[in-house]
């Protein structure tokens, strides 16, 4: 009960101070806002990339190209070998005629080019499409298959995925650096805001000491003021996260570029992100105000 009374008083005082030091408070809040928007976008992007790399890996296939003009006997041998590799889940054979047909259906350009090639001179090859059980052993399995007789080349999609993940990782690092820098600026601004409040209330604080307020009572309003700055600063980022992601998801109908890259469903994703953003705002506010209290309030 007593704690609630004191908290009520602290919150009231803190809000008063935010209003009284309006310009500096606004600077802190804006800085938190910018930081949190970037943080929110980074988190959303990161979760999505993680999500779709998993998706892509899940249905990753190894394409096994056989040598030119291979005999049916040799094809059967390769098939036996594939069967004996434990990580191979299933495989389907596609003759070069089938490949040609499929490519001709996909595009008119291919159609005219491929029209003029008969089977003898065709650069296309017979292929096996192999699905694996364990994606982590994908490249290992691919290497094994490559050593099988009559196999000319082995391809698997990891090149594209690897490149994307690598590119995203470096973007993530840069973003992380920017966020750290912004957090530092924010904390600095909050420290100065709270410092102003402390000096405006110096008289009050000295009287509080005289009449026997505990250190906790003296500190709490200032810590709460920092937290309130954090909460105010996270309002806009939360709105942007919620409505922005919803609009983004709707605009792309849940997919980017192709069916391959699937976006995370907005619910409950946006609520989780909003929660994280709010939490970061509050924590940054608290860090700023506690260091100001430690520095300028000798209790």
């Amino acid at each position: 009960m007593k704690l609630f009374r004191m908290l009520g008083r602290s919150i009231r005082d803190a809000i008063k101070s935010v209003i009284r030091n309006f310009s500096l408070s606004l600077a802190s809040i804006s800085c938190i806002t910018i930081t949190l928007i970037i943080v929110a976008i980074a988190i959303i992007a990161s979760y999505n990339v993680q999500n779709f790399t998993k998706e892509i890996e899940r249905d990753m296939t190894i394409v096994v190209f056989l040598e030119n003009n291979i005999e049916q006997e040799d094809i059967d041998d390769v098939e036996k070998e594939l069967k004996s590799i434990p990580n191979v889940e299933k495989y389907t054979f596609q003759s070069k005629q089938e490949v040609k047909k499929q490519m001709q259906e996909e595009s008119d350009v291919f159609n005219t080019v491929l029209e003029n090639w008969d089977d003898e001179e065709s650069p296309l090859k017979d292929t096996f499409q192999v699905k694996v059980r364990n994606v982590e052993k994908l490249s290992n399995t691919a290497k094994k298959i490559e050593k099988v007789d009559h196999v000319s080349v082995v391809r698997y999609g990891s090149g594209m995925v690897d490149k994307m993940v690598k590119a995203f990782n470096s973007v993530e690092k840069v973003t992380f650096g920017i966020v750290i820098a912004l957090v530092l600026v924010t904390v600095f601004l909050i420290i100065n805001t709270i410092k102003l409040t402390i000096s405006a209330r110096r008289r009050e604080i000295s009287i509080m000491r005289l009449v026997g307020a505990s250190n906790f009572t003296i500190k709490t309003p200032f810590i709460i003021e920092g937290m309130i700055l954090g909460i105010f600063g996270s309002i806009v980022p939360i709105l942007i996260t919620t409505y922005g992601y919803l609009a983004f998801y709707r605009h792309f109908e849940g997919h980017l570029y192709s069916q391959l890259i699937e976006l995370i469903k907005p619910e409950p994703f946006i609520y989780q992100i909003s929660g994280i953003v709010l939490l970061i705002g509050i924590i940054v506010g608290m860090i700023g105000s506690s260091s100001a209290v430690r520095k300028y309030l000798k209790v």
Partner: protein, 229 residues
């Protein structure tokens, strides 16, 4: 029983000035004691050691059984809740009413609203300000402002009231009004009062116990004393 006991107390400030030398004294519960002496004789330092604004460099300061010299910074508030303090410059919050100024002392220690109301009105009645509850400090005379400060100091029923030159800014007439208030508090509430002053007339008129300091030394501790240079 002794409320305050000081044993071999010395206070040397960081700049090398010794404000109090080897002080020994005991003050009984319920007494009214003046601390007198010229400017710089160590009156304020003595008072400050009692509410743990300053720590003695040597010796023991015991207030209500608590060894104040050994009290950790974090625990000072426990001592402060047992005493009230009044200064020459009132130290009120200018943007708060008389009522709010007095209530502030209880809000700070988490008292309930209805308890605050009862206690604040009682304290304001004791200092004769019940009709100015909603005024702001700048609407009051110096004497009235000091009475608000006294009300704030006694609102939590402290055992001990420390006053450092409470009449220092007031004319003789207003000073006597304040003394009347303090004497009533001492008698009605049984609060022990220690008051530093250099006002001869007041001391001579009141006939209370007198501690005389000179350059940091205790020169006299007399019952029903008068001011002597």
């Amino acid at each position: 029983m002794d409320l305050i006991r000081m044993k071999n107390v010395e206070k040397k400030y960081k700049n090398g000035v010794t404000a109090i030398y080897d002080l020994n004294l005991a003050i009984e519960k319920g007494s009214f004691v003046f601390v007198i002496g010229g400017s710089g004789s160590g009156k304020s330092t003595l008072i400050k050691m009692l509410y743990r604004e300053e720590k003695p460099t040597k010796g023991q300061v015991i207030v209500g059984g608590l060894d104040v010299a050994k009290l950790k910074n974090k625990k000072v508030y426990k001592l402060r809740r047992k005493l009230g303090i009044v200064f020459q410059d009132y130290r009120l919050l200018p943007k708060q009413t008389v009522y709010e100024n007095v209530a502030f002392a209880l809000e700070c220690i988490g008292e309930k609203k209805d308890v605050i109301r009862t206690k604040v009105l009682k304290a304001l009645e004791d200092v004769g300000l019940k009709n100015k509850v909603h005024n702001y400090p700048d609407q009051l005379s110096g004497g009235e402002q000091q009475r608000v400060a006294i009300a704030r100091a006694i609102v939590n029923d402290p055992k001990l009231l420390l006053c450092d030159e409470p009449t220092g800014n007031l004319d003789p007439e207003k000073s006597l009004e304040i003394m009347k208030v303090l004497e009533d508090i001492n008698k009605m509430r049984g609060t022990t009062i220690i008051m530093a002053t250099h006002d001869k007339e007041i001391v001579n008129k009141m006939k209370k116990q007198v501690i005389t300091l000179k350059d940091g030394h205790l020169v006299k501790f007399k019952q029903k004393g008068t001011y002597v240079e």
